[in-house]
């Protein structure tokens, strides 16, 4: 099933290409910042959605 539009996927891939050297946590934060949902981010990075949620929870806690 196509979860999100092709152009959105392309933008995500460009962003990830530019972040090749970054840690998964950083990639998660960037994708979240441009508006991808946790499930979409998990799909793009091939990780568990709960892991995405945990990274973002940790990140938002740090900002506070």
């Amino acid at each position: 099933m196509e979860s999100f539009e092709r152009t959105e996927r392309l933008l995500a891939l460009i962003l990830l290409q530019n972040m090749k050297e970054s840690r998964t946590e950083e990639k998660v934060k960037s994708l979240n910042l441009v508006g991808f949902t946790n499930v979409e981010i998990a799909e793009l990075l091939k990780i568990n959605p709960q892991v995405v949620a945990n990274y973002l929870f940790k990140a938002k806690k740090t900002i506070k």
């Binding site: 979860s3 999100f4 949902t37 946790n38 568990n48 959605p49 709960q50 949620a53």
Partner: protein
């Protein structure tokens, strides 16, 4: 399954009332129970992982009519005379009905799309809307027509698919 006729169309017979009650209980009520609880689990599991900051407390951030229904229903359950009876459940999602579950799906449309896709989500919202009246007829202890019973059967056959979708996305199935 032999056809059971609406007792209200005949002269009073306690046997006919009993037959109608057993028919709906044995063949339909349990299906509605499964449908509504499966939808609660589906919604809770998806929103738990999609609402990063609140996790299982996604309800706190919810806006809209579902929350108003919860507040209204909770007040009724917490009346002094209601204290002799059970509460629906710990999570607010147990205080609301299928119409409000649909409101939650609508209000969080973009969070459910990545899980089941836009067309299936639209189908689910429409299916819930068409189930609402047959469901209410049974929940309010009336006797539905065959076409209403058919709607319940169709929805029942489809509902487990939504749990399959969340498993496919590696989303943990969580009972609220």
């Amino acid at each position: 399954m032999t056809e059971t006729k609406d007792f209200r169309n005949y002269a009073f017979s306690s046997h006919r009332i009993e037959k109608c009650g057993k028919f709906l209980g044995n063949f339909y009520y349990w299906k509605l129970f499964i449908i509504e609880n499966t939808l609660r689990i589906f919604i809770h599991s998806v929103l738990t992982v999609q609402y990063t900051e609140k996790g299982e407390n996604w309800w706190d951030d919810l806006a809209g009519e579902a929350k108003n229904s919860y507040e209204r229903n909770k007040k009724n359950y917490l009346k002094p005379e209601a204290r002799f009876f059970s509460l629906p459940g710990k999570h607010p999602i147990y205080f609301i009905d299928i119409k409000d579950l649909n409101e939650i799906l609508r209000a969080n449309f973009t969070l459910f799309v990545p899980v089941i896709g836009e067309s299936i989500l639209n189908k689910l919202i429409l299916d819930i809307e068409t189930l609402r009246i047959p469901r209410n007829i049974i929940a309010h202890v009336n006797f539905p027509k065959k076409k209403d019973l058919d709607r319940i059967n169709t929805f029942f056959e489809d509902v487990s698919v939504y749990i399959d979708f969340i498993k496919e996305k590696n989303i943990k199935v969580i009972i609220p």
